[in-house]
Structure formats: C-alpha cells, structure tokens
C-alpha cells in the first residue's frame, strides 16, 4: 500500500514540530540542561562517543552487542514458535499440551521472571537470550495458532477433495494461508523483544545500548541518555521496517483479496 503524499507531509510536520520545540525550549535557557539537554549537546556527545567510544567500547560495539542478543533470540523464536504455533493450530491435542505454559507466563512482565532466569543461568548472555526468547515466543505462537484457526474450512475441504493428504494440506494450504498472521506475530515479537532487551540490559549488563543509557544516567549525563534513547528509537523503527519489507516480498497477495 502506498502512503498518500499528504499523510507523509503531515508526519514530517509532526517530527519537525517536536524538533523545533526542542530547539526553542533549550535555547531560551528556561529549562535546565539536566532535564532537557540541548540538541547541540546531544549531537556533540554523539560525535564524541562515536569517536572515542563509551567506557571501553565504541558506539557500534554497544549497539552490536545488543543486536547480537536480539537477533540470536529472535531467530530461535522464529524457528521454534512458528512451527509450534502452526502445529498447535492444526492439532488441538498439541495445542492443549503447549497452551497452559504460554497462558501462564505471557501476561507476566518479563523482568519478573528475569530474576529466576539469572538465578538459573547467571548474569551473562544465556539468561538474556532465554529472557528474549520467552518474551518473543508467546506473541508468535499465539498469532500462528489464530492464523490457522481462522482459515476457512473450505480451504481445507477443497484440498481434501482434490486429493491432498494431511501433511500436504499443512505445507501447501495451512502454512501459506496463515502467513499473514504469522507476520503479525513476527512484528509484535520483534517489538516486545526489543523493549525487553533494553530493560534487561538496564538491570544487569556490562555492555549494550541499554546499559550505556543506564550507566550515563548514573552520572547525570542526560545528553548521552537522550542520544541513546534516540538511537534506540531509530533502530526500533528500522527493525520493524525490515520485517515489513520481508512480509511484502513474501505475501504478494496481502490485502488484494
């Protein structure tokens, strides 16, 4: 779907208005630099950290550490939650086995069970990956189940009358038909994992973009905090765009039936 031009301009106006308000508020000197650092100081701290790094690691290393955690946990989620969800949708017995676990931990705030995970796996990477994995698993699983259940009965009946067996129906009918919902789950999961990651790094880490922000806040370096938050925001948007782009390539029929 192409965004109509006027809407694009309106979005640009919103962003521009926020940036201008930021400039005006900070240049008048009425706001304390501690609460809202000026755009100039934020930009300068970005340049400094880009050049010199922050506490032993470059900015890209911090970002890279975070992304590595995210990508590994996310890929684990995709290869396990998608099949588990699709099979659960197709077979109510499998669903009955898995669903209680999901239903229990899904509403919990991830940081609540993070303490248990650190107890079991230590404070290093393993517990963070497990946390992100669990946080991402539920949304993918749930939307995959919903995607299969939503499939019209005639799709499956039709395949049966054409001579397909149960296995063929799963791969040639159920899977493609559920793809739209699968991608909804994939997008949600990426968002959830990203927020969880930053939160986890703020609790326990020695590197990563979330840790950098938390560490800077201890020294009241709000310029660095702002810079970090802006980078997180932009990264989040980019990640979501990547998923959207993949979705558009894969589901060419979406929104046209």
């Amino acid at each position: 779907m192409k965004k109509p031009k006027i809407e694009l301009y309106l979005s640009i106006i919103t962003v521009a208005a926020i940036i201008i308000a930021w400039f005006v508020a900070t240049s008048s000197g009425s706001v304390d630099q501690l609460f809202i650092p000026s755009p100039k100081s934020v930009w300068e701290s970005f340049l400094t950290i880009w050049r010199d790094g922050y506490k032993g690691s470059t900015l890209l290393q911090h970002l890279g550490t975070s992304m590595k955690r995210l990508v590994i946990a996310y890929l684990l989620c995709v290869v396990t939650a998608v099949p588990a969800g699709l099979i659960s949708g197709y077979n109510s017995k499998v669903r009955a086995l898995i669903e209680p676990i999901i239903e229990f931990y899904r509403p919990l705030p991830p940081l609540a069970y993070y303490t248990i995970l650190t107890l079991w796996m230590g404070i290093d990477e393993e517990s963070k990956l497990a946390l992100l994995y669990l946080a991402g698993f539920a949304p993918i699983y749930i939307s995959c189940v919903a995607g299969v259940i939503r499939i019209k009965e005639d799709y499956i009946n039709g395949a049966l009358t054409l001579g397909a067996n149960k296995r063929q129906i799963f791969f040639y009918v159920i899977f493609p038909a559920a793809l739209t919902d699968v991608f909804t789950g994939l997008r949600t999961a990426l968002g959830v994992e990203y927020t969880t990651l930053v939160a986890a790094e703020m609790v326990a880490a020695t590197a990563g973009i979330g840790w950098m922000v938390l560490d800077a806040s201890k020294y009241l370096r709000s310029d660095i905090v702002f810079m970090g938050v802006i980078i997180m925001g932009i990264t989040g948007i980019l990640l979501d765009k990547i998923i959207q782009l993949v979705e558009k390539q894969v589901i060419h029929w979406k929104g046209r039936n």
């Binding site: 005639d154 009946n157 039709g158 395949a159 049966l160 009358t161 001579g163 009918v173 029929w253 046209r256």
Partner: protein, 289 residues
C-alpha cells in the same frame, strides 16, 4: 461407455415436453444395477439447544452416470448439507451412501467439489491452482502439464494461466474452480450454489459453460441451487427438497438443457413448456414457506 448414456438419460416422447409430464413424479428414469451413487434412507440431525434438530429426513434416491441433477429447495432445507454428505465432509446420522457400491468414508478426489465461494489459493497462480490436484496426487509433472492447458482451454482461461488469483473476476474464479475440480477426472462433480454470488450476465455464461462441459465430457453433475430457472436450464433431473427437515418432495426429469444443446434452443425459457415447469416448481417451493 460411449454415448449411450445420453440416450438413457431421458427419452423425450415425440415433440417437446408435454405439460402433463409436469406432474411426473414416478419411478426413477433408470435401470437397476447402474447406479453411480446410492443414497439409502439418509437422515442427518445436529444437536441444538432443545435437543437434536433434524436437517435431512429419509433421503432416498440414486444418481446415475451422466445425469445432471439439480437440487432445489427453500433456504435452510439442508440441500448444502446433502452435498456435504456426498462429498464426505460430514457423516449422516443414519442411512448409507455408496459410490460404485462402496460406502463413502471421508473425503477424497473421486468426488470433485465446486464451492459457492471458490477457495482458490491466492499464493498460487491460476495455473498452479488448476495443477493442485494432480500435483498432490503425485501425477508426474510431464503428464499433468498438458492436462492443465487442456482444462484451462475448456474453461476459456488459457490467457490467464499466469495471473494471480486476486486479478480475476468472480466468474473467472469460478471457472478456475471448475477446471481445478475436473482435472482430477472425478466420478461426479458436486457444485454447491456455485453461481449464486455472480451477476446475471456472468452467471449465464458460466451456466452455458457448465452445460457444455456436462454434455461434452459426460460427467455426472450434482448441482445445488435455489434458483428454479437455473435448475431447469441445466438439469436432466430436478429434485426438490422440503423445508425443515429436508425431504425429497419431487423428483422430475427435464429436458431443456439437452434441447438447448441439441437444438440450439437458446430462447427455450420463453416457451410455455418452460413456463409451466417453472410455475410448478415455484409453487412447490413457495408452499414450503
């Protein structure tokens, strides 16, 4: 079986159908031992809030090779349910249903189905949709590829082979659906109000196509509709179901479809004979309300 099924179908006595024949409700027009499908005392109930609700009661008739049966009935008479039982989607509560003497157990490709809303697979092209059946049945590709071309040609969609499903109109989708079911060469083609959602002009053209395919291939067709005119223009035999629970209240041979083909009697629906049949069936159905 050559062309003799056409002769057996219905022997018109003399000229056109006589008005007296409209009251025909006698024995089936066919010979013992040639049944394709035997429907024997079929009942179907489903559980409602106040106990079981009967949808079909004592359905009892045979389907013979080469017939074009149209089942008419008011909405809610269970005519689609009957089709689903023949297709094997649901099991009858009582009675038996046999294909070539063998009890129908579940769904398979021997009974092709054309649904009201064609469940075509949007992720495939028109071509791959038609090829779906043979591909699933592990027919070698070099065997089914020419068949796909042949059936696309039959339904007049050769030029649309590589289109996506969402690029097709409603009528074209139904044509793909027909080709997709026919390519498996099923023993019978079951059609569940296939043209109900189409506009008048499109509907006429797919009706003509269906009639032509029936006549050219000799395929047995079981067709559900609520449109009396459609039934008369297509069928070699019309079965009328009553409302709640569905029972067979009329079973008459008709000959208009054959006349349209053999005598190119395109304006047959304006003849008094057609009108009489139409009146009679309409009255029967309206009496059910």
């Amino acid at each position: 079986m050559a062309d003799n099924w056409k002769e057996k179908l219905y022997e018109p006595e003399g000229e056109l159908i006589k008005v007296e024949n409209v009251n025909f409700s006698g024995p089936e027009p066919h010979i013992e031992g040639e049944e394709l499908i035997t429907i024997d005392s079929v009942d179907l109930s489903y559980s409602g809030k106040t106990g079981p609700i009967k949808a079909l009661e004592n359905i009892h008739f045979n389907i013979y090779p080469g017939e074009f049966i149209c089942v008419l009935g008011p909405s809610g008479c269970g005519k689609s349910t009957l089709l689903k039982i023949i297709a094997g989607f649901i099991k009858p509560t009582a009675g038996s249903i046999k294909l070539d003497g063998e009890e129908i157990k579940g769904t398979d490709w021997h009974r092709g189905v054309v649904f009201q809303h064609p469940p075509l697979y949007e992720w495939y092209s028109v071509r791959s949709n038609v090829a779906f059946g043979p591909k699933m049945r592990k027919v070698p590709k070099n065997e089914y590829e020419p068949l796909v071309d042949e059936y696309l040609e039959k339904v007049g969609l050769s030029e649309f082979a590589n289109k996506k499903i969402y690029e097709l109109s409603g009528g074209m989708k139904q044509r793909v659906s027909i080709a997709r079911a026919l390519i498996n060469d099923p023993e019978i083609l079951l059609m569940d109000e296939p043209f109900g959602a189409l506009d008048a002009l499109t509907r006429e053209s797919v009706q003509d196509l269906t009639r032509k395919i029936w006549w050219d291939t000799g395929k047995t067709i079981f067709f559900i509709t609520h449109d009396v005119e459609e039934a008369l223009l297509l069928a070699s035999r019309v079965i009328v179901l009553s409302r709640h629970p569905g029972r067979v209240i009329e079973d008459i041979p008709v000959n208009f479809s054959r006349q349209i083909i053999e005598e190119e009697a395109d304006d047959i629906k304006f003849t008094p004979e057609f009108y009489k049949y139409r009146e009679k069936l309409l009255k029967l159905i309206n009496a059910q309300r």
